[in-house]
Amino acid sequence: MNPTMIPIPSAWILYLSAVLFVIGAIGVLLRRNGISIFLALELMLNSANLAFASFAFRFAGASATAAHALNGQIFIFFIIAVAAAEAAVGLALFIAMYRRKETIDVDRFNILRW
Amino acid sequence: MHAALIQFIVIPVVKIAVILGVVLLVVAYLTFAERKILAYMQVRLGPNRVGPKGWLQPIADGLKLFVKEDLIPAKAEKAVFLLAPAMIMIPALLAFSVIPFAPATKLFGLLPKAIPPYVTDINIALLFVLGISSIGVYGIILGGWSSNNKFSLMGGLRSAAQMVSYEVPMGFAIIAVLLMARSLSLVQIVKAQQAAHLWFFVPGILALGIYFICGVAETNRNPFDLPEAESELVAGFHTEYSGMKFAFFFLAEYTNMLVVSSLATIMFFGGWLRPFPNVAWLSFLGVVPPVIWFAVKVAGFIFVYMWFRGTFPRYRFDQLMQVGWKWLIPLSLANLVIVGAGVLLVKG
């Protein structure tokens, strides 16, 4: 990076991550379409990734923590892998549900409630 | 201050403008080349009316598509319908930002110091190109979906399944190159081939085959042109498109061919290097500028594309999936193991 550039505080990215997480959380609570809920969930995962990236960069700057700073990025790697697995299973589940009920409105999947 | 302005604004903008212009011109003439080559394969003449021997045909085609009426179907999802052509064209062109077609040059002494003619060299270039080209599939899916047309939707769904499936063996084939070059930077890959005294297609012949087959599938070209199979799906995902938006889909296909061919050249055929770059008595080949060597190699791959189109029948969709999942993926994995073992043995 060009040394004349002024870096930005880690807090900015963390705030952004918080905002994205909250948007995702509201989406999960708000929407009734199963696939939309899933999309909001992915948004939450991504905001967590963003926080991890920010912390990794932050800890890489301090000599006490630099040796393990990369672990944050490794964590993102695993989150992405698990998110892929989750998306595959979840979407297959929604297809199966749609076949059964002709809808993906999650409020209609209440057969376990009574 | 002024130096910074030139270094960070002027030079990149000039490079981008030149590369964009050249790529679009080459793409326009690829359509002409394809029609001519197919014509000769089928013992026809091909386009020969506009200009001398038909050489102005692409210009005429472009003009025609530009002034044609631009229809938007009444029941189409309008915003997405407009977005789709851009979403296929932009990734295709973005890939050229990291493709190195010649080493740093002084442009025959015109420049005070050597500057690289390509836009940039990033250390994740290969992943970047893969990622960017996987964005291109959205244009096809969304174009197919937003047209509100059965055939378009079928084409879009087919292409989604096809491109996601063929990305996997393509990635594995590329990892084999990665093992040999030990870098994701395309410039470093070319330099590694110079240092190894060997173009990577020799140890990576299987990887090359897998890569190119997947490349053909990724660009939806014959024999994998199921998303736009004209005899079953009218024109597939771009059935409802007309005028300039259709031209975008059309040009994006050729641009993607160019990207796949350029990558194949860089990864397997030494990029801009002349044949046998380290054999002294062949140094007279060095009078040909590197960019010409690059263009010749790319043209070879493009010709193979057109050759395929002229000779192969189209696969059925289940056959396509079988080739991808049951043959190419295991084969590419086996290739990875073999190449990895080879690299370990040679380099220790």
Partner: protein, 190 residues
Amino acid sequence: MAFLSAHFVAIVFYVLAVLAVAGGVGVITFKNPVHSALSLLGTFLMVAGLFVLRHAEFLGAVQLLVYAGGIMVLFLFVIMLVNVRRLSPDAAFLSRRAPLAVLSGVVFGALIAFGVLAGSLGHPGGGATALQMVQGHVMGNTEAVGWTLYRHFLVPFEIVSVVLLVAMIGAIIFGRKDAGLEGRGGRMEP
């Protein structure tokens, strides 16, 4: 020009952040799931850019490749298969307890923001070199991630591969024609 080059990182951050938040808002406000998915795709691309800004170049590319190129395509594929246009979108848009959802979200966000504030992360700190270090040599982010992954996280890596395998098998089983139809004369295999 001097201002531009000095505050380059900040400007890039603001552009990416605003677009990412706009995409996020789009995800939960668009009624059509395809529009939501596209909006999320935009956010993913912006987040990939932010990864690069935080010197996670490899993960930026992986984000592009896996999230944008794989997962979102899968989503769109399923949305089109399920053919959401036929669902009545107005009836099934929002949950009945929408104000409560928004309120709890905002409170939760405030809590996180408070945590960030308390964490004294306000001053610009951080370094790129430790993220590119392989055994004491500065090589590159990809090399560093690869090295750490295969040296220190080999077992988790293998476990994740098993997770992916299980997910793949699970998806295939759920996706079978007779899955979920036991009650309607479909059959369940032992």
